[in-house]
């Protein structure tokens, strides 16, 4: 085991230890104490990830990937699956993002959740989530990856339903869990096919033996795509994400913006050989991403809940990542994943400060005018919005535009993707700055409750500041094609299919920035200028394009009707009916038999004597 592997194990074990100790300590640990345990262990995880990163950096590029197996986890017949961690460039990158952003958000929660009931449970769940996500990104075999995948879904369910006294939160948690379970199921089916075809589930073995082309390869990729689409809230399994905003705001920031929902992108990049074997599914993934990014951008225009707007924006940005990863521009997809984690967490946390100061108010029409009293939050939100739209030099500019550039080489389909992406940048500018101008820009009568001079507890303000800094400068990780350390770093794991040329990068950047600025300008005209006529939103957008209604009509109601029908005809007639008949038979039989008990002692004695006589005769005659 190398030092990098050891660091990876530490990184994975720390959050689990935090969950266990908070759960076991119970009330012996103070509420604050639970928060500190959770925060410190997650920062410890981040430190371990940094150590692993430094160790990998010291190795030559070809020798950085290594696996380490602690014990055999499952042995069934000829199959043996170990508890194997894979430490390579991609997993370390994800570890840094998950543990780093996770630690910041958990630290933020110290202030946000202070005084809430059941703080301990919250922090135990948060640590459990970080552990699950780390397991997902570090898994050395597809089986372990599936385990992490499911555990992430579980902790997401627990955290969305954290406010268990609210029926809406419980419904949202169930919805998220069920939709994710659909994805888990398709993914499990894909793994069954892989085991049947190759007999293995470790990454390298599967990649070497997986079928190239043909129905099986397509089915495998389709199943994996199903999992990715469900976890990343892309069409058609996206409807759970907006509802998931019922969870506490830091949860939305950590799970439903920065880390978990990007797991689908990670999956496509990690298993890119399987997707490359099935180019039709790759195109499908890109198409779904493009459709989602436009659709979510449109819906975000009319939502009035600040968190839901950011949630749709997340869907839209993950659409970009899908387009990038499915266009085989893997480093670009991961790059956008990283920067998105920074600026989306920033947007959520800044929104969280505002919500916190307004005692839970989330309706942007009633948050109007909060910017005057909360200048720091306003600036942070502005940085996040600029990064989201992709205005240079903020982070989104570098990552989003390189995804768009990667679609240019891909012929007619690429042109469609590019068009969707460019439309998306315009929509992004529009909805992001609608939010900014309405909440922070305008004159309004929202009165935040500020204690003292700060806009929030120090843990909240400081983490938002750090994330604002990362959103401002995080993009300089890479400026293709001049400065490409991330592409070089990831090249051994996920080599990009084609590097976009400098000209393409320039064209894509110019177009995207121009459209983003146009979106901002339109938003300014519509929402910032006093007295401007705000267009009435289309009903179809307010209803989120009727996806929920469609699923209700196609799935929920037929299932409900089927269950009712089965209840009436099978349950009542067959099941309950048969049991009732059996009971009635025993009743009648018992009534008959009870007549023999006539109370005449001498009759009983005669029966005894007769019985003994019969027995005696039987014995005598058979001896």
């Amino acid at each position: 085991m190398t030092a990098a592997n050891a660091a990876a194990w530490v990184c994975l074990a720390l959050p689990l230890a935090a969950t266990g100790s908070i759960a076991l300590a119970g009330t012996r640990l103070s509420r604050r104490g639970a928060g500190y345990v959770s925060t410190l262990t997650t920062f410890g995880s981040f430190a371990a990830a940094l150590v692993a990163f430094a160790r990998l950096l010291a190795e030559p590029a070809g020798a950085r990937a290594s696996t380490s197996t602690s014990w055999t986890w499952l042995a069934a017949g000829p199959y043996r699956f170990g508890l194997t961690l894979l430490t390579d460039q991609l997993s370390v990158t994800m570890m840094l993002v998950v543990a780093g952003v996770g630690a910041l958000i958990i630290a933020y929660s110290l202030g946000y959740m202070e005084g809430a009931d059941e703080e301990r449970r919250y922090f135990a769940y948060m640590s459990l989530f970080v552990f699950s996500m780390l397991l997902l990104v570090q898994a050395g075999s597809l089986l372990l990856l599936l385990a992490g995948w499911g555990m992430v879904g579980l902790s997401s369910y627990l955290l969305i339903g954290f406010h268990q006294e609210r029926p809406a939160a419980i419904a949202a948690a169930k919805k998220a869990f069920v939709m994710n379970a659909v994805g888990d199921a398709t993914m499990a089916l894909a793994l069954f096919l892989l085991v049947e075809q190759t007999g293995r589930l470790d990454d390298a073995g599967v990649f070497a033996a997986a079928p190239h082309g043909g129905t099986v390869a397509n089915l495998v990729a389709l199943g994996l795509l199903g999992g990715a689409v469900a976890k990343s809230a892309q069409i058609p399994l996206h409807t759970w994400l907006p509802d998931a905003m019922e969870g506490p705001t830091p949860v939305s920031a950590l799970i439903h913006a920065a880390t978990m929902v990007t797991a689908g992108v990670y999956l496509i990049v990690r298993l890119h050989p399987l997707f490359e074997n099935a180019y039709l599914v790759e195109d499908l993934a890109a198409g779904l991403g493009a459709a989602t990014l436009v659709m979510a951008g449109l819906i975000a225009l009319v939502q009035t809940d600040i968190k839901r707007v950011i949630a749709y924006s997340t869907m839209s940005q993950i659409g970009y990542m899908f387009v990038g990863a499915a266009s085989r521009a893997y480093p670009n997809g991961i790059f956008h994943l990283v920067t998105h984690a920074f600026f989306k967490a920033l947007l959520f946390l800044a929104a969280g400060i505002a919500i916190h100061a307004l005692s839970g108010e989330q309706d942007i029409r009633r948050m109007r005018g909060i910017g005057r009293t909360m200048p720091h939050t306003r600036r942070a939100f502005l940085v996040g919005s600029l990064a989201l739209v992709g205005i240079p030099p903020f982070a989104g500019f570098f990552s989003k535009d390189s995804i768009l550039a990667a679609t240019i080489d891909r012929g007619a389909f690429g042109a469609v993707l590019l068009a969707c992406g460019l439309l998306g940048t315009f929509l992004t500018g529009l909805y992001a700055f609608r939010l900014y101008f309405v909440v922070f820009g305008g004159e309004g009568d929202a009165r935040p409750h500020l204690h003292g001079r700060a806009e929030g507890p120090p843990s909240m303000v400081s983490t938002v500041t750090v994330l604002a800094g990362l959103s401002a400068v995080g993009g300089f990780l890479q400026l293709a094609p001049v400065w490409t350390p991330l592409t070089t770093w990831l090249a051994p794991v996920a080599p990009p299919f084609a590097e976009p040329s400098g000209a393409h990068e320039a064209i894509a950047s110019a177009a995207a920035v121009a459209l983003g600025l146009a979106g901002i300008a339109v938003a300014y005209r519509l929402y910032a200028v006093a007295g401007a006529r705000v267009p009435r939103p289309w009903a179809v957008l307010e209803h989120k394009l009727y996806w929920d209604e469609l699923y209700d009509l196609l799935l929920a109601r037929p299932a409900d009707r089927l269950a009712r029908g089965l209840g009436r005809f099978v349950e009542q007639l067959l099941v309950a009916g048969s049991i009732g008949e059996v009971a009635r038979g025993f009743q009648l039989g018992g009534a008959e038999v009870s007549r023999m008990q006539n109370g005449l002692v001498r009759a009983y004695a005669l029966a005894l004597a007769g019985g003994v006589a019969v027995l005696a005769l039987v014995f005598l005659s058979t001896r």
Binding site: S594, R595, Q597, G599, L600, V601, R602
Partner: protein
């Protein structure tokens, strides 16, 4: 071996047992039924002792003593019940005591 053959004792035991059983079956007074039960027990005891004599083991005799102890206790309980019935001026006829019929 002295005395009559063991078979005759068994015949006597059977006669006693059947007499008692008939008494239990045909008489209606609880007192007489109790007496008949005692006769049945004694028939059984006689059979036990006869077999014990024939086999040369003492087991049957031990059983007979145990049966006597049981019979004594049974008589106590039975007579007690009958006295209680008499005290409550119930009719001393087992056929009229039918409250336990189903």
């Amino acid at each position: 071996m002295h005395g009559p053959d063991v078979l005759w004792y068994l015949v006597l035991a059977a006669i006693l047992f059947v007499t008692g059983a008939l008494g239990v079956l045909v008489r209606r007074s609880p007192l007489i039924i109790l007496l008949s039960v005692e006769i049945m027990l004694n028939g059984a005891n006689l059979a036990l002792i006869s077999f014990a004599r024939r086999s040369g083991h003492a087991d049957g005799q031990v059983f007979a003593i145990a049966v006597m102890a049981v019979a004594a206790s049974e008589v106590v309980v039975g007579l007690g019940l009958i006295v209680a019935m008499g005290r409550r001026r119930l009719q001393l006829d087992v056929d009229t005591l039918r409250t336990l019929r189903g």
